[in-house]
């Protein structure tokens, strides 16, 4: 029998602690749309996406009502376009991005991910065309997200791609300079990208996936924070246990929504991504969790350890709650999307270097960080190379989503709106790294037999 206390606890989590299901993402394979003619290809992908995801948004809204838990985003991920469009006889993939954008608008999803290329070992002709189309594609579309995987623990780091991506990020920033370079908020550079990640901007439908699948990303930093407030000052065992228990409950909600969505849409359930994803709302922040753990601000000594504890225990609690766990699973540490992180930057507690250190133990990487508009493409490539190296050596996913805000400098604010939030522009180490980045070629994969 359901007890009153349990009902109250669940509803308190939803009402006061911002418990939500962050996203239902439908992964759709576009492999069977391959064609040499651009207009035929565009029509095929448009038809397939709009048909597969016809009921996605409505189903999400129905589930929201049925369980009384908010489902914030309904999204789509597709086969990396560089693969699906490999046969295309065209110089630019921008019209493909436009077709994807149109399809996303038609079915009512806020983002569609998969304008992507996987080039960890090398670029095909299609990969190169796709990458070169990114700045224009992100400028002329609203909902399309792009990602490029430039390295992996097995293949090493494709430094030609790293070099190219520094340039692409700059071009994207310039193409959307009138909107605070928002194009860069929709572009992620990965190392060890995963194929089933439901979170944007890095979501795509991997080649090892089935035809169509439902992945769900859970959220709930607010719930963890409130739970930790109850055990303030107690030892680490209690701290870890509390995170685990809370993560379990949060993930169960995700599991329920995922199973029900999969049943109603007649699409197999893929994975639950056990991630704590913050929002710019007060009380829904990862940085506030650090504060409850006992740090004055995110970035203070101890932050990396605090993040490691959080990340690990979210996974430990979550895995038992769902049979299939995947995606990026852990704690995200975006700057602009987290009220507490923004405050930490403004107070001078959090620097880019500390964020980089934290990415060794977080679920993704340098995420949603606004930097000066005059940051050079070589510096961007250098930062990408550093972050990719962390991922490659540590067998984990890392990513870079930096926004060089054209026309703005350190200390100025930039506003992206909605879930993308707002951010103060952070200083970047601007000593030259061109001689390193310009070498080109590939960094060989690391040896893994002498783990250290």
């Amino acid at each position: 029998m359901i007890s009153r206390v349990e009902v109250q606890e669940t509803n308190k989590m939803i009402r006061e602690m911002n418990l939500d299901v962050r996203t239902i993402t439908m992964g759709i394979s576009l492999m069977d749309c391959a064609h040499t003619d651009l207009s035929v290809f565009n029509q095929k992908i448009y038809d397939k996406i709009t048909k597969s995801a016809e009921k996605l948004v409505k189903t999400g809204e129905d589930l929201e009502k049925q369980f009384g838990v908010p489902i914030v985003n309904k999204r789509i991920s597709v086969t990396p376009i560089s693969i699906a469009a490999g046969a295309l006889n065209t110089d630019t993939y921008v019209p493909v991005a436009e077709a994807l954008d149109k399809a996303a608008r038609e079915v009512g999803v806020n983002f569609l991910g998969g304008f992507s290329a996987l080039v960890q070992k090398g670029c095909t002709t299609g990969d190169r065309k796709l990458i070169e189309s990114i700045p224009e594609a992100l400028a002329v579309t609203e909902r399309v997200c792009a990602s490029v995987n430039v390295g992996s623990s097995r293949s090493g780091i494709n430094m030609d791609a790293v070099k190219l991506m520094g340039d692409i990020i700059r071009q994207t920033a310039e193409r959307t300079a009138d909107r605070d370079s928002i194009g860069c908020a929709k572009l992620v550079v990965f190392c060890n990208a995963v194929e089933d990640n439901p979170f944007m901007a890095g979501a795509f439908h991997g080649v090892g996936e089935r035809e169509c699948v439902i992945n769900v990303g859970v959220s709930g930093p607010g719930v963890v924070k409130r739970a930790l407030e109850e055990v303030k000052g107690q030892d680490f065992e209690t701290l870890c246990e509390t995170i685990k228990r809370t993560a379990f409950k949060i993930t169960r909600v995700g599991q329920l929504v995922a199973q029900e969505a999969s049943k109603r849409l007649g699409v197999p359930f893929g994975i639950i991504d056990l991630s704590l994803a913050p929002t710019p709302l007060i009380g829904d922040s990862i940085a506030e969790i650090f504060q409850v753990m006992g740090l004055e601000e995110a970035g203070a000594p101890g932050t990396t350890a605090a993040l490691a504890i959080l990340n690990d225990n979210v996974k430990k609690g979550g895995v038992m709650a769902s049979s299939y766990v995947g995606g990026l699973s852990g704690a995200f540490i975006p700057v602009s999307e987290d009220h507490g992180m923004i405050q930490a930057v403004q107070r001078g507690a959090l620097t880019l270097e500390k964020l980089e250190a934290m990415t060794c133990v977080c679920s993704v990487g340098l995420d949603m960080i606004a930097i000066p508009g005059d940051t050079s493409k070589e510096t961007l490539s250098g930062i990408i190379a550093d972050e990719a190296a962390i991922g490659m050596v540590n067998n984990k996913t890392t990513a870079v989503r930096l926004i060089p805000v054209i026309g703005k400098g350190v200390g100025e604010m930039v506003e992206f709106g909605g879930l993308l939030g707002y951010a103060p522009i952070m200083p970047v180490n601007s000593f030259n790294c061109a001689g390193f980045v310009d070498r080109g070629g590939r960094i060989p994969a690391p040896i893994h037999s002498f783990k250290n």
Partner: protein, 89 residues
């Protein structure tokens, strides 16, 4: 199919009547009620059986919500699964 109704708001005459009348009109059977009033705040939980209701779950959710708005309390209907799955292994 069972649902859980929670009602929260400042106490006044007729809250239970309003909810129960709506449920009766829509063929929803009440299985259990518990209710407390803490410092003038009315807090009620009901377990209901909605398998005989003609309206869909989503419509019931919406209409109950509106009924609550009319008398200034928050009425929420949720599928029981969310509580079962969260608190039971």
């Amino acid at each position: 199919m069972k649902g859980i109704i929670t009602v929260l708001g400042k106490d006044k005459v007729g809250i239970i009547a309003k909810v129960c009348t709506y449920l009766a009109d829509n063929n929803v059977n009440i299985l259990d009620i518990s209710q407390t009033i803490v410092q003038d705040y009315f807090n009620m939980m009901m377990i209901v059986d909605i398998s005989l209701a003609e309206k869909s779950f989503e419509v019931l959710v919406e209409e109950l919500h509106h009924a609550g708005e009319e008398i200034g309390v928050e009425i929420k209907l949720q599928h029981e699964d969310i509580f079962n799955i969260m608190h039971r292994i």
